[in-house]
Symmetry: C2
Subunit: 218 residues, 2 copies
Protein backbone atom coordinates (compact mmCIF):
# COMPACT_ATOMS: atom_id res chain seq x y z
CA UNK A 1 0.00 0.00 0.00
CA UNK A 2 1.32 3.45 -0.83
CA UNK A 3 1.79 5.50 2.32
CA UNK A 4 1.37 9.30 2.40
CA UNK A 5 4.77 9.43 4.20
CA UNK A 6 6.45 7.80 1.18
CA UNK A 7 5.22 10.63 -1.03
CA UNK A 8 6.37 13.23 1.47
CA UNK A 9 9.82 11.63 1.45
CA UNK A 10 9.85 12.03 -2.34
CA UNK A 11 9.68 8.28 -2.99
CA UNK A 12 7.80 8.17 -6.25
CA UNK A 13 8.85 4.91 -7.94
CA UNK A 14 7.69 1.41 -7.00
CA UNK A 15 11.32 0.36 -6.54
CA UNK A 16 11.92 3.31 -4.25
CA UNK A 17 8.81 2.54 -2.23
CA UNK A 18 9.84 -1.09 -1.83
CA UNK A 19 13.27 -0.04 -0.63
CA UNK A 20 11.72 2.40 1.83
CA UNK A 21 9.39 -0.33 3.17
CA UNK A 22 12.31 -2.72 3.68
CA UNK A 23 14.33 0.04 5.38
CA UNK A 24 11.47 0.63 7.81
CA UNK A 25 11.25 -3.11 8.51
CA UNK A 26 14.98 -3.29 9.25
CA UNK A 27 14.71 -0.25 11.52
CA UNK A 28 11.69 -1.64 13.40
CA UNK A 29 13.41 -5.04 13.81
CA UNK A 30 16.52 -3.36 15.19
CA UNK A 31 14.53 -1.38 17.75
CA UNK A 32 12.64 -4.50 18.84
CA UNK A 33 15.89 -6.39 19.40
CA UNK A 34 17.72 -3.49 21.08
CA UNK A 35 14.78 -3.03 23.43
CA UNK A 36 14.70 -6.74 24.27
CA UNK A 37 18.39 -7.61 24.57
CA UNK A 38 20.44 -4.38 24.46
CA UNK A 39 22.44 -2.63 21.74
CA UNK A 40 25.85 -4.32 22.09
CA UNK A 41 24.20 -7.74 22.45
CA UNK A 42 22.39 -7.39 19.08
CA UNK A 43 24.30 -8.22 15.90
CA UNK A 44 23.63 -7.05 12.35
CA UNK A 45 22.98 -10.74 11.48
CA UNK A 46 20.21 -10.95 14.09
CA UNK A 47 18.61 -7.73 12.83
CA UNK A 48 18.69 -9.03 9.24
CA UNK A 49 17.24 -12.38 10.33
CA UNK A 50 14.42 -10.66 12.26
CA UNK A 51 13.64 -8.39 9.28
CA UNK A 52 13.78 -11.39 6.91
CA UNK A 53 16.53 -10.06 4.63
CA UNK A 54 19.99 -11.40 3.78
CA UNK A 55 22.72 -10.23 6.18
CA UNK A 56 24.61 -8.31 3.48
CA UNK A 57 21.42 -6.47 2.44
CA UNK A 58 21.39 -4.68 5.81
CA UNK A 59 24.07 -2.38 4.43
CA UNK A 60 21.78 -1.29 1.57
CA UNK A 61 19.73 0.48 4.22
CA UNK A 62 22.21 1.47 6.94
CA UNK A 63 25.98 1.88 6.41
CA UNK A 64 26.85 0.63 9.92
CA UNK A 65 24.99 -0.65 12.97
CA UNK A 66 25.47 2.67 14.75
CA UNK A 67 23.67 4.48 11.91
CA UNK A 68 20.54 3.07 13.57
CA UNK A 69 21.35 5.20 16.63
CA UNK A 70 21.56 8.31 14.44
CA UNK A 71 18.22 7.49 12.79
CA UNK A 72 16.61 6.95 16.20
CA UNK A 73 18.05 10.19 17.61
CA UNK A 74 16.80 12.14 14.59
CA UNK A 75 13.34 10.65 15.10
CA UNK A 76 13.40 11.59 18.78
CA UNK A 77 14.47 15.16 18.04
CA UNK A 78 11.55 15.37 15.59
CA UNK A 79 9.18 14.03 18.29
CA UNK A 80 10.52 16.65 20.69
CA UNK A 81 10.03 19.58 18.33
CA UNK A 82 6.55 18.32 17.39
CA UNK A 83 5.52 18.18 21.05
CA UNK A 84 7.13 21.57 21.65
CA UNK A 85 5.46 23.15 18.63
CA UNK A 86 2.78 25.02 20.53
CA UNK A 87 5.24 26.41 23.14
CA UNK A 88 7.45 27.78 20.43
CA UNK A 89 4.53 29.32 18.55
CA UNK A 90 2.67 30.87 21.47
CA UNK A 91 5.59 32.88 22.83
CA UNK A 92 5.57 31.18 26.23
CA UNK A 93 8.11 32.66 28.69
CA UNK A 94 11.57 31.19 28.14
CA UNK A 95 11.80 29.51 31.56
CA UNK A 96 8.52 27.73 30.89
CA UNK A 97 9.48 26.73 27.33
CA UNK A 98 12.81 25.31 28.49
CA UNK A 99 11.01 23.60 31.38
CA UNK A 100 8.56 22.01 28.91
CA UNK A 101 11.51 20.93 26.80
CA UNK A 102 13.11 19.15 29.77
CA UNK A 103 9.83 17.60 30.76
CA UNK A 104 9.23 16.25 27.22
CA UNK A 105 12.81 14.90 27.10
CA UNK A 106 12.21 13.20 30.46
CA UNK A 107 8.94 11.69 29.21
CA UNK A 108 10.44 10.50 25.89
CA UNK A 109 13.08 8.55 27.82
CA UNK A 110 10.76 7.17 30.48
CA UNK A 111 7.97 6.18 28.06
CA UNK A 112 10.16 3.68 26.24
CA UNK A 113 12.71 3.07 28.97
CA UNK A 114 14.33 -0.20 27.84
CA UNK A 115 14.95 1.10 24.33
CA UNK A 116 16.15 4.49 25.60
CA UNK A 117 18.66 2.87 27.96
CA UNK A 118 19.88 0.49 25.23
CA UNK A 119 20.32 3.41 22.80
CA UNK A 120 22.07 5.58 25.39
CA UNK A 121 24.56 2.79 26.16
CA UNK A 122 25.12 2.16 22.44
CA UNK A 123 25.56 5.88 21.81
CA UNK A 124 28.19 6.16 24.58
CA UNK A 125 30.10 3.01 23.59
CA UNK A 126 30.19 4.11 19.95
CA UNK A 127 32.16 7.15 21.20
CA UNK A 128 29.32 9.51 20.26
CA UNK A 129 29.59 11.84 23.28
CA UNK A 130 32.60 13.22 21.38
CA UNK A 131 30.36 14.12 18.41
CA UNK A 132 27.58 16.63 17.82
CA UNK A 133 24.51 14.38 17.84
CA UNK A 134 21.84 14.58 19.12
CA UNK A 135 21.39 18.10 17.79
CA UNK A 136 19.39 19.26 20.78
CA UNK A 137 21.52 22.36 21.17
CA UNK A 138 19.74 23.87 18.15
CA UNK A 139 16.32 23.25 19.73
CA UNK A 140 17.44 24.87 22.99
CA UNK A 141 19.18 27.73 21.17
CA UNK A 142 15.99 28.63 19.27
CA UNK A 143 14.06 28.97 22.55
CA UNK A 144 16.89 30.97 24.16
CA UNK A 145 17.04 33.27 21.11
CA UNK A 146 13.30 34.05 21.44
CA UNK A 147 13.74 34.65 25.18
CA UNK A 148 16.65 36.97 24.56
CA UNK A 149 14.62 38.96 22.05
CA UNK A 150 11.96 39.44 24.75
CA UNK A 151 14.57 40.50 27.35
CA UNK A 152 14.22 37.36 29.45
CA UNK A 153 17.77 36.15 28.74
CA UNK A 154 20.85 38.36 29.19
CA UNK A 155 21.41 40.24 25.96
CA UNK A 156 25.17 39.58 25.95
CA UNK A 157 24.77 35.80 25.76
CA UNK A 158 25.19 33.75 22.59
CA UNK A 159 22.10 31.49 22.23
CA UNK A 160 24.19 28.88 20.38
CA UNK A 161 26.60 28.52 23.29
CA UNK A 162 23.79 28.49 25.85
CA UNK A 163 22.11 25.77 23.73
CA UNK A 164 25.29 23.67 23.86
CA UNK A 165 25.46 24.06 27.63
CA UNK A 166 21.83 23.00 28.01
CA UNK A 167 22.64 19.93 25.89
CA UNK A 168 25.62 19.18 28.18
CA UNK A 169 23.34 19.41 31.21
CA UNK A 170 20.70 17.18 29.60
CA UNK A 171 23.26 14.50 28.71
CA UNK A 172 25.01 14.72 32.09
CA UNK A 173 21.76 14.41 34.05
CA UNK A 174 20.51 11.60 31.77
CA UNK A 175 23.76 9.61 32.13
CA UNK A 176 23.73 9.95 35.91
CA UNK A 177 20.05 9.00 36.03
CA UNK A 178 20.64 5.97 33.78
CA UNK A 179 23.66 4.90 35.85
CA UNK A 180 21.56 4.56 39.02
CA UNK A 181 19.80 1.30 39.89
CA UNK A 182 16.14 1.57 38.77
CA UNK A 183 14.96 1.59 42.40
CA UNK A 184 17.05 4.72 43.10
CA UNK A 185 15.71 6.69 40.12
CA UNK A 186 13.25 9.51 40.70
CA UNK A 187 11.54 11.31 37.83
CA UNK A 188 14.05 12.16 35.10
CA UNK A 189 11.95 15.19 34.17
CA UNK A 190 12.24 16.53 37.74
CA UNK A 191 16.03 15.99 37.77
CA UNK A 192 16.28 17.88 34.46
CA UNK A 193 14.09 20.72 35.76
CA UNK A 194 16.34 21.12 38.82
CA UNK A 195 19.44 21.41 36.63
CA UNK A 196 17.64 23.91 34.37
CA UNK A 197 16.61 26.07 37.35
CA UNK A 198 20.24 26.32 38.44
CA UNK A 199 21.39 27.45 35.01
CA UNK A 200 18.50 29.90 34.63
CA UNK A 201 19.00 31.66 37.95
CA UNK A 202 22.65 30.90 38.75
CA UNK A 203 24.14 29.45 41.89
CA UNK A 204 25.91 32.57 43.20
CA UNK A 205 24.21 35.12 45.45
CA UNK A 206 24.09 38.57 43.85
CA UNK A 207 25.89 40.32 46.70
CA UNK A 208 28.98 38.10 46.90
CA UNK A 209 32.56 39.28 46.30
CA UNK A 210 32.25 38.06 42.72
CA UNK A 211 29.85 40.94 41.94
CA UNK A 212 31.06 42.85 38.93
CA UNK A 213 32.50 39.80 37.21
CA UNK A 214 31.82 39.81 33.53
CA UNK A 215 28.40 38.34 32.75
CA UNK A 216 28.30 36.10 29.73
CA UNK A 217 30.98 35.61 27.21
CA UNK A 218 30.33 37.46 23.99
Amino acid sequence: MRQPSDEQAGVTTRRGRNKERARKRVYASALTLFRRQGYAQTSVAQIAEHADIARGSFFNYFPRKDALICAWMKERTTALTRRLGSCLRCGMPVAESLGTCMSVLGALNEEDLDLSMAMLTGWVQAGRPLGREPHLDAVFAEIVECGRARGEIHATLDPGQVGELLRDLYIGVLCRWAGRPPSARHSLGADLQEALDLLLHGIATPGGPHRGRRRGFV
Copy 2:
Protein backbone atom coordinates in the same frame (compact mmCIF):
# COMPACT_ATOMS: atom_id res chain seq x y z
CA MET B 1 66.04 1.15 45.78
CA ARG B 2 63.33 1.65 48.40
CA GLN B 3 61.16 4.64 47.57
CA PRO B 4 59.52 6.81 50.27
CA SER B 5 56.25 6.40 48.30
CA ASP B 6 56.40 2.60 48.79
CA GLU B 7 56.47 3.06 52.53
CA GLN B 8 53.60 5.54 52.39
CA ALA B 9 51.60 2.97 50.44
CA GLY B 10 52.25 0.50 53.26
CA VAL B 11 54.49 -1.69 51.09
CA THR B 12 56.88 -3.09 53.67
CA THR B 13 58.09 -6.43 52.28
CA ARG B 14 60.63 -6.90 49.48
CA ARG B 15 58.08 -8.94 47.53
CA GLY B 16 55.51 -6.17 47.90
CA ARG B 17 58.02 -3.55 46.78
CA ASN B 18 58.94 -5.59 43.71
CA LYS B 19 55.28 -5.98 42.81
CA GLU B 20 54.74 -2.24 43.23
CA ARG B 21 57.76 -1.48 41.00
CA ALA B 22 56.42 -3.80 38.28
CA ARG B 23 52.96 -2.24 38.57
CA LYS B 24 54.45 1.21 38.04
CA ARG B 25 56.40 -0.06 35.02
CA VAL B 26 53.23 -1.54 33.48
CA TYR B 27 51.36 1.71 34.12
CA ALA B 28 54.13 3.86 32.62
CA SER B 29 54.35 1.56 29.56
CA ALA B 30 50.60 1.79 29.06
CA LEU B 31 50.63 5.60 29.17
CA THR B 32 53.55 5.74 26.72
CA LEU B 33 51.70 3.53 24.24
CA PHE B 34 48.30 5.23 24.69
CA ARG B 35 49.94 8.60 24.14
CA ARG B 36 51.72 7.36 21.00
CA GLN B 37 49.04 5.25 19.31
CA GLY B 38 45.71 5.75 21.14
CA TYR B 39 43.80 3.69 23.71
CA ALA B 40 41.78 1.35 21.49
CA GLN B 41 44.82 0.74 19.26
CA THR B 42 46.91 -0.51 22.21
CA SER B 43 46.52 -4.13 23.32
CA VAL B 44 47.29 -5.67 26.70
CA ALA B 45 49.91 -7.79 24.89
CA GLN B 46 51.69 -4.66 23.62
CA ILE B 47 51.67 -3.11 27.10
CA ALA B 48 53.11 -6.31 28.61
CA GLU B 49 55.78 -6.50 25.89
CA HIS B 50 56.78 -2.85 26.46
CA ALA B 51 56.95 -3.39 30.25
CA ASP B 52 58.94 -6.62 29.70
CA ILE B 53 56.51 -8.93 31.52
CA ALA B 54 54.53 -11.97 30.33
CA ARG B 55 51.12 -11.12 28.87
CA GLY B 56 49.23 -12.99 31.59
CA SER B 57 51.15 -11.17 34.33
CA PHE B 58 49.46 -7.91 33.31
CA PHE B 59 46.38 -9.09 35.21
CA ASN B 60 48.38 -9.36 38.45
CA TYR B 61 48.57 -5.58 38.38
CA PHE B 62 45.38 -4.44 36.65
CA PRO B 63 42.18 -6.53 36.39
CA ARG B 64 41.27 -5.15 32.95
CA LYS B 65 42.75 -2.72 30.42
CA ASP B 66 40.24 -0.04 31.41
CA ALA B 67 41.46 -0.20 35.05
CA LEU B 68 44.39 1.84 33.66
CA ILE B 69 41.90 4.64 32.89
CA CYS B 70 40.65 4.57 36.51
CA ALA B 71 44.23 4.71 37.83
CA TRP B 72 45.02 7.63 35.52
CA MET B 73 41.85 9.50 36.50
CA LYS B 74 42.59 9.04 40.19
CA GLU B 75 46.09 10.41 39.62
CA ARG B 76 44.69 13.42 37.78
CA THR B 77 42.16 14.17 40.52
CA THR B 78 45.04 14.05 43.01
CA ALA B 79 47.06 16.45 40.82
CA LEU B 80 44.04 18.76 40.68
CA THR B 81 43.50 18.85 44.45
CA ARG B 82 47.25 19.33 45.02
CA ARG B 83 47.31 22.34 42.70
CA LEU B 84 44.12 23.65 44.27
CA GLY B 85 45.40 23.18 47.83
CA SER B 86 46.22 26.82 48.46
CA CYS B 87 42.86 28.10 47.09
CA LEU B 88 40.95 25.76 49.33
CA ARG B 89 43.01 26.70 52.39
CA CYS B 90 43.10 30.46 51.93
CA GLY B 91 39.35 30.96 51.71
CA MET B 92 39.43 32.47 48.22
CA PRO B 93 35.98 33.65 46.98
CA VAL B 94 33.99 30.75 45.51
CA ALA B 95 33.88 32.17 41.97
CA GLU B 96 37.66 32.48 41.97
CA SER B 97 38.21 29.00 43.45
CA LEU B 98 35.91 27.40 40.88
CA GLY B 99 37.60 29.47 38.16
CA THR B 100 41.00 28.19 39.30
CA CYS B 101 39.61 24.67 39.28
CA MET B 102 38.50 25.04 35.66
CA SER B 103 41.78 26.62 34.68
CA VAL B 104 43.79 23.78 36.29
CA LEU B 105 41.54 21.19 34.58
CA GLY B 106 42.11 22.97 31.26
CA ALA B 107 45.88 23.01 31.84
CA LEU B 108 46.04 19.34 32.90
CA ASN B 109 44.39 18.36 29.60
CA GLU B 110 46.39 20.69 27.40
CA GLU B 111 49.78 19.94 29.00
CA ASP B 112 49.67 16.28 27.97
CA LEU B 113 47.23 16.58 25.10
CA ASP B 114 47.84 13.31 23.21
CA LEU B 115 47.48 11.22 26.34
CA SER B 116 44.44 13.19 27.56
CA MET B 117 42.65 12.74 24.24
CA ALA B 118 43.50 9.01 24.15
CA MET B 119 42.22 8.55 27.69
CA LEU B 120 39.06 10.57 27.04
CA THR B 121 38.24 8.43 23.99
CA GLY B 122 38.98 5.24 25.95
CA TRP B 123 36.85 6.44 28.85
CA VAL B 124 33.91 7.17 26.55
CA GLN B 125 34.15 3.93 24.57
CA ALA B 126 34.37 1.90 27.79
CA GLY B 127 30.90 3.30 28.59
CA ARG B 128 32.26 5.28 31.53
CA PRO B 129 30.15 8.42 31.06
CA LEU B 130 27.40 6.26 32.59
CA GLY B 131 29.49 5.80 35.75
CA ARG B 132 30.63 8.07 38.57
CA GLU B 133 34.32 8.50 37.72
CA PRO B 134 36.13 10.86 37.62
CA HIS B 135 35.02 11.93 41.10
CA LEU B 136 35.37 15.63 40.34
CA ASP B 137 31.92 16.37 41.73
CA ALA B 138 33.34 15.93 45.26
CA VAL B 139 36.10 18.48 44.55
CA PHE B 140 33.57 20.98 43.21
CA ALA B 141 31.12 20.26 46.03
CA GLU B 142 33.73 21.03 48.68
CA ILE B 143 34.39 24.46 47.17
CA VAL B 144 30.65 25.15 46.80
CA GLU B 145 30.07 24.12 50.43
CA CYS B 146 32.70 26.65 51.65
CA GLY B 147 31.16 29.34 49.44
CA ARG B 148 27.70 28.59 50.77
CA ALA B 149 28.96 28.87 54.35
CA ARG B 150 30.27 32.35 53.48
CA GLY B 151 26.98 33.36 51.84
CA GLU B 152 28.36 33.43 48.29
CA ILE B 153 26.21 30.51 47.10
CA HIS B 154 22.43 30.36 47.60
CA ALA B 155 21.76 28.78 50.98
CA THR B 156 18.99 26.53 49.62
CA LEU B 157 21.31 24.69 47.20
CA ASP B 158 22.73 21.23 47.83
CA PRO B 159 26.54 21.41 47.22
CA GLY B 160 26.57 17.75 46.16
CA GLN B 161 24.07 18.38 43.37
CA VAL B 162 25.83 21.57 42.28
CA GLY B 163 29.10 19.56 42.23
CA GLU B 164 27.51 17.00 39.92
CA LEU B 165 26.28 19.73 37.60
CA LEU B 166 29.73 21.31 37.46
CA ARG B 167 31.13 17.89 36.57
CA ASP B 168 28.51 17.59 33.79
CA LEU B 169 29.57 20.97 32.42
CA TYR B 170 33.26 20.07 32.59
CA ILE B 171 32.73 16.79 30.74
CA GLY B 172 30.38 18.36 28.18
CA VAL B 173 32.75 21.23 27.39
CA LEU B 174 35.75 18.86 27.29
CA CYS B 175 34.00 16.45 24.88
CA ARG B 176 32.96 19.28 22.55
CA TRP B 177 36.46 20.76 22.69
CA ALA B 178 38.05 17.35 21.98
CA GLY B 179 35.61 16.73 19.12
CA ARG B 180 36.77 19.83 17.23
CA PRO B 181 39.66 19.68 14.79
CA PRO B 182 42.81 20.90 16.61
CA SER B 183 42.92 24.06 14.44
CA ALA B 184 39.43 25.05 15.66
CA ARG B 185 40.24 24.66 19.36
CA HIS B 186 40.72 27.73 21.53
CA SER B 187 41.91 27.51 25.12
CA LEU B 188 40.03 24.75 26.96
CA GLY B 189 40.45 26.69 30.21
CA ALA B 190 38.68 29.71 28.66
CA ASP B 191 35.82 27.53 27.35
CA LEU B 192 35.41 26.05 30.84
CA GLN B 193 35.49 29.50 32.46
CA GLU B 194 32.69 30.68 30.13
CA ALA B 195 30.50 27.73 31.10
CA LEU B 196 31.23 28.34 34.78
CA ASP B 197 30.29 32.02 34.51
CA LEU B 198 26.91 31.06 33.09
CA LEU B 199 26.18 28.65 35.92
CA LEU B 200 27.41 31.11 38.57
CA HIS B 201 25.32 34.04 37.43
CA GLY B 202 22.51 32.36 35.50
CA ILE B 203 21.27 33.05 32.01
CA ALA B 204 17.90 34.64 32.88
CA THR B 205 17.48 38.35 33.54
CA PRO B 206 16.19 39.04 37.07
CA GLY B 207 13.14 41.00 35.94
CA GLY B 208 11.65 38.47 33.50
CA PRO B 209 8.23 36.83 33.85
CA HIS B 210 9.93 33.85 35.49
CA ARG B 211 10.65 35.99 38.59
CA GLY B 212 9.43 34.26 41.70
CA ARG B 213 10.15 30.79 40.37
CA ARG B 214 11.57 28.60 43.05
CA ARG B 215 15.35 29.07 43.36
CA GLY B 216 17.26 25.85 43.87
CA PHE B 217 15.84 22.50 44.65
CA VAL B 218 16.19 21.53 48.29
